[in-house]
Amino acid sequence: MNWASFYAVISGVNRHSTGIGRVWLSVLFIFRILVLVVAAESVWGDEKSGFTCNTQQPGCNSVCYDHFFPISHIRLWALQLILVSTPALLVAMHVAHRRHIDKKLYKLSGRANPKDLEQIKTQKMKIAGALWWTYIISLFFRIIFEVTFMYLFYMIYPGYKMIRLVKCDSYPCPNTVDCFVSRPTEKTVFTVFMLAVSGICILLNIAEVVFLVGKACSRHLSNAGDSTMGAWITQKLCSY
């Protein structure tokens, strides 16, 4: 299992997404996963071997590294990307379930020829009804995971900036010892980049929620055009 197979799994969801959802997926793959794999991983590659402390004391280096970097940025980002992409599978599962039900209905009604069954497989489902709710829930989970990870990042590494020097006095280091982080500026650049793209993804998700809610409202208003409630709402909106 690697990013390539993950990519294969997630890009299957693309078909049932809205336009904004597809843009979000492209941003995720190109500006986050691809940048993580081809660039960021090599920046953090020597983070432990390049972490130098001004002491000969054995063990001090390891202890100080562990104290200041409880979990590496790279691992946090990998977790974030996996958790943020997974709600999209809710939608894929719902679509698969609906198709399974449709197939059963077709078979019961006697239209069990392979052409009709093929048509079910290739048909693109409209985001309405129960699927709409699944989609909205998956969007909310995405937003929650993104925000949670950004908050976690801020808690573990306050300020988003990678410092050059940390002062460590954990046992077995004698007194306070200067420890130097490897490539702090490059790490800061990539941290800011990944956070900015994460922010863009949150905005895209919010836009998609607003779009779906707006579409659902307009659908209800046009469907309820005959009913008194719908007419009342339409009249109220028009009066503004």
Partner: protein, 308 residues
Amino acid sequence: MSWVALYTQLGGVNKHSTSLGKIWLSVLFIFRITILVLAAESVWRDEQADFTCNTQQPGCKNVCYDHFFPVSHIRLWCLQLIFVSTPALLVAMHVAYRKSGDKRHIIAASRSGGDDKTRQVDLETLKRRRLSITGPLWWTYTCSLLFRLIFEAGFMFAFYFVYDGFQMPRLVKCEQWPCPNKVDCFISRPTEKTIFTIFMVVSSAICMVLNVAELAYLITKALMRCSTGISKRRTSGHVATDKSLLQNKTNQMLLSSVTDSSSNKTAYVLPSFPNELFLTGGLLYRPTVLSKSPNSATIVGQRSDVKE
């Protein structure tokens, strides 16, 4: 997920590019991405491990390396290649959007009449068809070219600004804390790094030249198309010699006489393109067949591929 995935994505864009665009894509993949992955990455692999400073002071090497190399060449090139490749996806998205619209029309049209086989053939043709770069697609393509140029120029400027030129020095003098006084630090493989830097800069410049040429070509073609369209309209006058002009007139007549129901030919519903599109050289739809449904007059036409 790696450069291979990006290559697969962009390879699909190739179909809808101009010839210059295809050359640009090849230069990008062969002379930049492949060289980066196969050669440059191994040159820069030991950049920090072999960065040696003339001092025993712990931390001095780290600090001096960070001071002289805020962002490594390799990472800058990776980001540059990712940013420069992405505008091409705008074009791919536009084409996909157009094709999905066309698909919906074919399916809707075949539902109102026509057999399954014709629909399948039509859908297959639609999948393989190359769209001509006219109308809104021209604007998307031109915008993507402009973005490419901006990103290329931006990154080259950033490179020059961060590294004060394109040459890698052998020795740097560092006096950052905690280094005692001034310390000599030696960079690993400076000549090899200089060669690869110049190579990548030259490839980048060639790509910029190709983009500028492609932009000029598209603008020239668009101007020629406009002038041909204008001159045709002028010379034809009231007599519609152009097939599409004649067709437009007949369509308008049909619209005005709703209750006439003489024809029973197969109908395809046209998308709502403005009439002007029919007059330009790069037509997508050349209306030839007219038909009417019993309840309303519909302007219809036969789909045909029009190459640039």
